[in-house]
Symmetry: C2
């Protein structure tokens, strides 16, 4: 199965043909980090997008959603340090100007540029700095790493990767930012992906939705999204080859590769949750349907008590059961099996004897997997989270207006 695609060493969002990127420190953030980034394609791209479901949508989200409808895109401009959310009509005008500024250096028209912002809500963008800063950006084929760093906020490492599909001779690349306890609710989640495959636009959108549901949405609670969450996938077709359409074997391969890339980025986000030290993986098997499997997995992965138990290296499995029980899924306690890696803790709803020392050793590793079998059906899902540490609180108390 995984032979259909492979990860490219040091792959980035500019690994696919015809994409360039760059970033600069425009001065939106106080720290001397990159805070303005541009991604561009040589030729117009079909574009798919998934956005926040928050009722309070940032100006750049509203604008990008409009431009997504039927339009082609030449690129994306992103700033960190200011969310441009709750900023009224001025915010809308600023988002439009951002795309016009980026369009100049891309050599495109403004309506071909998508836009995203992340940072503090309720502050106006420092447009003078953006106008000056954007001119310093030089778009380069090897600019992917710079782009990935330019979109970071409290992330400690850039998240980027690219996969090569052997059969189709095309590449898919991506850069993401997450952090914030990896709940998109709790910090803006942004992800920009590119491919040189030729993809039928309807399938491009459905493939992106499906991949996001199996990856990014499994490090979150449904509907719990920030004002700014944005996932975009640009396809320029420069790898040549036939158009990939829904229902074909090629579509299956593209979906697998896209899922693989998205899951990789999702796991990287979870691992880099604010203050986190441990990647928590929750596997749910035996669910009556896929939605139930996902709901239980997500609820457990986002439980504060599960997160603190893992941080305390305490195999306190009762907290997993309590979280599963409040997930809204009609689980049956007396049917459930629960294990920590290969250590069985509960069988058919009864506590099982296990070596506490072994369990502590297992829960002290960098990746911790709990497996919950509901024994109610044949559906499975995986969700990812991270431990909750004192450092998370410190970071979020100090991240200031």
């Amino acid at each position: 199965m995984d032979a259909v695609f492979e990860f490219i060493p040091s792959g980035t969002v500019t690994s696919p043909k015809g994409f360039r990127a760059g970033a600069t420190h425009a001065g939106i953030k106080k720290e001397k980090n990159l805070d303005l980034a541009v991604l561009a394609s040589e030729t117009p791209c079909d574009v798919a997008g998934v956005f926040t479901r928050n009722r309070v949508k940032a100006a750049p989200v509203v604008l990008s959603q409009q431009r997504l409808k039927g339009g082609k895109a030449r690129g994306v401009v992103v700033n960190s340090g200011c969310a441009n959310a709750c900023t009224g009509e001025q915010g809308r005008a600023d988002a439009e100007e951002m795309t016009a500024l980026a369009a100049e250096i891309i050599g495109a028209s403004p309506d071909q540029v998508m836009v995203a912002s992340t940072g503090v809500i309720g502050h106006m963008l420092p447009m003078a700095r953006l106008r000056a800063g954007i001119k310093q950006i030089s778009l380069k084929r090897e600019g992917g790493h710079e782009f990935a760093r330019g979109i970071m906020t409290t992330d400690t490492v850039p998240k980027e990767a690219a996969v090569k599909v052997k059969a189709g001779k095309y590449t898919i690349g991506g850069a993401a930012k997450g952090a914030g306890m990896i709940h998109p609710d709790l910090a803006t989640f942004l992800c920009f992906m590119t491919t040189d495959a030729r993809v039928e636009p309807g399938f491009l959108q459905s493939a992106l939705k499906q991949a996001a549901d199996a990856s990014f949405n499994m490090v979150s609670i449904d509907g719990d999204t920030s004002t700014n969450d944005t996932v975009l996938l640009l396809a320029n077709g420069l790898a040549g080859g036939g158009v990939i359409s829904s229902g074909t074997e090629q579509a299956e391969v593209f979906q697998q590769a896209l899922n693989g890339l998205c899951i990789h980025l999702a796991r990287a986000m979870a691992r880099d949750g604010e203050g986190a030290a441990t990647l928590i993986e929750i596997k749910v098997n035996g669910a009556p349907d896929l939605a139930s499997a996902r709901q239980v997995a997500r609820t457990v992965a986002s439980s504060t008590l599960v997160k603190t138990a893992v941080h305390g290296r305490d195999p306190n499995w009762g907290r997993i059961m309590a979280a599963a029980g409040r997930s809204g899924v009609e689980i049956v306690e007396s049917k459930i099996d629960l294990s920590l890696g290969s250590i069985c803790m509960m069988k058919a709803g009864r506590p099982q004897p296990f070596s506490h020392d072994e369990a502590v050793k297992r829960i002290s590793q960098e990746e911790v997997t709990f497996i919950l079998n509901l024994n109610l059906g044949k559906n499975s899902a995986v969700a990812w989270g991270c431990d909750l540490t004192e450092a998370y609180v410190t970071i979020n108390s100090r991240y200031t207006t």
Copy 2:
């Protein structure tokens, strides 16, 4: 309005006539704290109850729910330190034995005793210790304080109060435990209330449900409950007077007094959330209906980012808007007014200038109130929460199996 009842100084769960209580250290908890408590009425009581909606219900919850149906109660037995949840048939037998042991010292039959447990999930009750411990309990008229301390886990102070209704010459008392970041999800919530009023059983249950919805459920997320959450209200009628029935003026007064007591206990819980330093109050006005008002208030009060902002003394109001936006209620950003106490931060969806120093001063007080007007209707609700501190994480990492 509030002249219909008044708080009794140092009131407890045994303030109403005919109730006695006591507690002991039976050795269920490692620490030398009280961990086993009994509450008793001289005469059989009508009883109302509200329980967890978690699909995984502890054995004592299942048993108490059964006994509630049509039965009368003479008392309640409660242990802390072990939840008796996920314990299968043995857990059920242990819960029944707990009621039999308590029935002996109360002088009642076991099926007249309700039971509740709180503590670690997945461990069997140390029944030998319970059997020995319960004999040390002496039931006293002034035993209310002891009872309130006997049900504590990570609470730092007991939560108890009693109100006197002048017109009806009756009293309602209560003791509660909460803590756990005050999300009933995140720690067991228990509350036991007593009254010497004579109350028609159907009204007793509906009054308890209504009071819980306006108080305890406003320091939680609907459906987000632990395996053990239990609220009981026992009415022995010993104050004399006519039966209080639904739809009467007396019922209105009883409801007001019960709401007042429950809101007092709910605020005490929020104030004593694990590691908390600040009581956060979220008032939502102008909602299209009561359910929407409550949903927005609860979502904001339970937002991790709002909690950490208050901890950091940062008037970062964007986090309030982001939380309101993901509440599921169809709010309209351009209509919303938001203020911190009397400091207006947003008007009709636009950021307003305010003194940052004044706002920091206001958010540094022991009680912080945000007021959100949705300007969509006439309904209001209040929710309570607490700040999220490094201490919360430490407490929950160390609270061990």
